[in-house]
Symmetry: C2
Subunit: 240 residues, 2 copies
Amino acid sequence: MKGEHLFRSKYKSALTNCALLNNLDEETNNEILSLFHHEKWPKNTCFLNHEKFFFHFYIILSGRVKMYQVEPNSGKELTLFLLTKSDVFDLFCLLDGDKHQVYYECLDNVKVLAAPMTELRSWLNRHPEHYKNLLPYAGKQLRSLENYVSDITFTDISTRLLKLLIRNVNDKSNTLELINDLSNKELAYLIGSTRAVVNRHLQRLKQNGSIKISRKRLQVKNLSLLLHLLENQKLANLKI
Amino acid sequence: MKGEHLFRSKYKSALTNCALLNNLDEETNNEILSLFHHEKWPKNTCFLNHEKFFFHFYIILSGRVKMYQVEPNSGKELTLFLLTKSDVFDLFCLLDGDKHQVYYECLDNVKVLAAPMTELRSWLNRHPEHYKNLLPYAGKQLRSLENYVSDITFTDISTRLLKLLIRNVNDKSNTLELINDLSNKELAYLIGSTRAVVNRHLQRLKQNGSIKISRKRLQVKNLSLLLHLLENQKLANLKI
DNA sequence: TTAGTTGTGCTACTTAAGTAGTACTATTCA
DNA sequence: TGAATAGTACTACTTAAGTAGCACAACTAA
């Protein structure tokens, strides 16, 4: 891949925000990008083979990719990460060189850069100072998972749903992003619940006018009401 | 601290197994250890001030330290990690330089090595190849948290309790370790539940003879029965 | 020694979440 | 176009987990 060409291309913003490529001079940047090639994955593509991510490392240029698990006996699903532009995967494999028992699915048409894991590793070994770039990104994923654990154990579904909505409202446009075109089922998997239960809570939010829902479309109509409801739920937990 | 002296001391095994000090030549090893000093913390010491772990980094030489969170409204607790010999903390702070909203408590008399975070960081910046040592350890914590999330969402308390017991049975001695002297409350916090519920399930395991319990003492009497029960619970989840 | 604290074992009750099923609608694609 | 599929809204039911409370035992420290 011509690194220079690509760097000047329309995916520049995806690459400059990518943790792996942080603070590199142009020469180094081109050198590391030369390990990668372009791939396009159509919407709804599923990757069920863990080995794929053991042998290649990916950077998302555009589109959403969900990392998820399936409980083999019950068939229940759980979305661990909703990856998007500038995200990389699979960090687990890169960090410790073990297989990672998760699946991936494209929620949009996705463009990625792909590099053979061995080549990326040997490049990093030749330039160990760039290992440092991985650390804050690893920290972010650790915090995200820790937050997942405490949310699941401390708070009920309606609170988790409120939090999910609130944190995906864009500050500037004041509209729901990233998850606004997901089905109830996909929303449920993002907070470790089931379609029916999430629908039940969405109906209540619809009734009080804070959201508007239609088939695979979700709008936040009244963010301050959502924030208010979240506050109330916290107070309801107070031990007297 | 005299690195050479300490390295030959009785904590040698704690240090050689420590991720941060992996594969270092003796000189480098002494250099990094010179950043650390010795600290002793008595059993039951609590650290509720997040700043402490923002400014110092610790390696456990002996004793157990639990990393936990408290939900401020309800007062519910949750143990995130049960750290022990050779573990380091706080990795979250070291990786991304942000505060980490968790508490720490010593479950034993604990001995640690402590280094100022800034000095450790600047040493690592001078020797960036040693950043690499942190990666597999970060991977291990990521996997542990991911596993926590999927356990909580996929499996019920009795299954989580069975798994907790089984994974803490020492292969060689066939006895329960690490958690064998914890109260029901502490066991509950390790799997995101409550004392009463855990006790309920422990009573059932006692009745079938797989464990023996007394005040703050827990013994596994029949590991294969526990494994058998775990298998059965999985089958019970099968969708027909 | 004793008072206070902590841990245990139990009963009874409440509740949110999950499960099952069904009618209906929107979308897809052959 | 029309059949199949996917998504939604709803009711009724089940259940595990959480909650509250209490009696008692076992440590701990004044």
